[in-house]
Amino acid sequence: MAEHDPAPDATCDGGDLDCGSGLLLIIRNAMDPLPSGGVLEVRSREISVKEDLPAWCRLVGHDMFASRPGESGSTSYFIRKKSADAVLKQDLDQARNYVWRARVRGRGGMGAEVFVRNHSFAAGQPVSFDTADQAISAIEYLIGSLGACLAVGFQWRASQRGIKVHNLEVALQARAQDILVYLGLRDAGNPGLADVRATVYVDADADLEVLEDLLAETVRRSPVTQTLQHAVSFTAELRKA
């Protein structure tokens, strides 16, 4: 489709994000300042965008008139804006006000089952010291959730910068202030976490400084990390592996 030089007026990079996970909001936000007829270049490494983006353009009336391969496995899509996006502000507000939901069913004893969207998972007692325990404890879900938020956030932001990540692993360690309070062995004190440490091992084609900058941005924009950071001491250290 690259029949002529597209010469964009603005550019946005979705990295590995797909259309169902906020990419359309990013595109619409980047297109908003452009005049009618202005051209937006959308860079993406997500394969499904190839099908989904033209379909969305047809739906809303924009003209996706060209695409060409870019750097680091990325593809550039060129979209000519049709008209102003009357509902962008409304949709951004909707995203900002989104309410996440989960339904947790007690299963008797030391077990519960968690239902979220179309998924479900089992949870055991909030605190477990036994490696042979059958279910994942609530504290482990909490630090696992933090690690997942960092790992996926880092990968996505790396993809936006065209950095190939060969391997990524986040190792987490958390200590409670006084877990004996949970067990009922102490009355005073706080059973909450005192500190959480994350070691982020990265094997990627980028310098250490670039990766550290990427981690800092990931931490700054990570919803789970920023929630926990209000309550506990949190450190994240990057190791280039």
């Binding site: 490696t131 391997n167 692993e169 190792a171 360690q173 070691t199 091992y201 094997d203 190791r239 592996a241």
Partner: protein, 380 residues
């Protein structure tokens, strides 16, 4: 096989790889084979200049002392611990190990049996020929031991369609190692060492302790005694009827950290009855740290058995005093006759390519000290 000097000085195997070799290994450089040759020549030169009597190739072509078999055997795939985490039963033990090592699971590779095991090409014969071609010294060739291989490469869910358990895998591992050993013996290798690092772990770590990933495949119900019996039987089957090289086994207490506190502690006493039944000439043992206890335990070894006496610690930056080594060897000669004693470091200097425990200069200094101690002992 006679080496021709008293107190022969040798190495346990690995030499720290140069940074340019590590980079080429990581990037799978097209010139990797040439760079491995160059690195091997350097490793040989360091050993010769230090005064080593029996040199190795420094294991420069290996990622570690046993994972390299995946390149050379059919039916084996090199997998990272990250890939294996889905399959191993004791994931918590793996987490403890990774935490102690401070490494990501993707950085450690383990060969895993995924099909019928047989030689695609020789394990070490080509490496042996290169070494032989480039030194006038006697040579030591290191091979992973049959117990280590049959236990560490068998992973439930990946290996059991070909071998129902690690025991049935043992037969093919023995066949592969025998074939290799016969060729090495015919070619005139002076010394062959089987690495069985986890034997002491079986004994010293007990049933419930944190195991290294090499031991992680063991079922929780395995008894240390049963496993040691199995190791004796496998080694004896590999060497049965083969003569020529000095046949040895190396047993250690861990060489993956410079923090001595996390490595295994304890004497070899409990292991001696098993070693005595191995049809081998030499036992390459660690005695450089206080974790090993006194060499008095070695009085119980078969009177014809040689000892590869570990008297320098590969993990410390300080180079040992030759007089102290002389003193330590004299302590051993109270129980063992001098003609049975070889001198070596406790373990390799670069067991795992990415995590060498010493740099080349330090390793060179330590080997030089071993040679100096040997000269003093010979002159005495």
């Amino acid at each position: 096989m006679q080496i021709g000097v008293r107190y022969p000085v040798t190495v346990v195997g690995s030499w720290p790889r140069p940074p340019w070799l590590l980079e080429a290994m990581k990037r799978r450089s097209a010139s990797l084979a040439d760079l491995q040759d160059q690195a091997t020549l350097l490793a040989i030169k360091y050993q010769e200049d230090a005064g080593v009597d029996i040199v190795s190739d420094g294991e420069q072509r290996r990622d570690n002392f046993y994972s390299f078999i995946s390149d050379r055997l059919e039916g084996i795939r090199l997998m990272t611990l990250a890939e294996l985490l889905d399959y191993v039963e004791d994931k918590a033990a793996f987490e403890n190990l990774l935490n102690a090592l401070d490494v990501p699971a993707f950085a450690i590779k383990n060969p895993v049996v995924v099909g019928k095991v047989r030689r695609r090409k020789p394990l070490v014969m080509e490496d042996y020929r290169f070494l032989r071609q480039h030194t006038q010294k006697a040579v030591k060739v290191t091979l992973p031991g049959p117990y280590l291989l049959s236990r560490s490469t068998w992973v439930k869910g990946l290996s059991e369609s070909t071998y129902p358990d690690g025991d049935s895998l043992g037969n093919d591992i023995v066949a592969v190692l025998r074939e290799e050993l016969q060729e090495l013996a015919s070619a005139g290798a002076e010394m062959v060492q089987f690495d069985e690092p986890v034997l002491s772990e079986l004994l010293l770590a007990g049933r419930s302790a944190t195991r290294t990933f090499m031991c992680a495949a063991l079922a929780a119900s395995s008894s240390p005694e049963g496993e040691l019996e199995r190791a004796v039987s496998l080694l004896n089957r590999v060497v049965e009827g083969i003569r020529g090289p000095i046949l040895s086994v190396h047993v250690c207490r861990g060489n993956w950290s410079r923090n001595e506190d996390v490595l295994l502690s304890g004497p070899y006493d409990g292991l001696i009855p098993y070693l005595n039944r191995m049809k081998l000439d030499q036992f390459v043992l660690e005695y450089a740290t206080s974790r090993a206890g006194t060499p008095k335990a070695l009085a119980a070894l078969r009177p014809d058995a040689q000892i590869g006496y570990g008297v320098v610690n590969p993990r410390t930056s300080d180079v040992e005093d030759p007089n102290e080594i002389v003193r330590r060897v004299r302590e051993l000669t109270e129980f063992v006759s001098p003609d049975r004693i070889f001198l070596n470091p406790d373990c390799g200097f670069g067991t795992f390519a990415e995590r060498p425990v010493a740099d080349a200069q330090t390793a060179f200094g330590k080997l030089g000290v071993l040679a100096a101690a040997a000269r003093k002992l010979r002159g005495a």
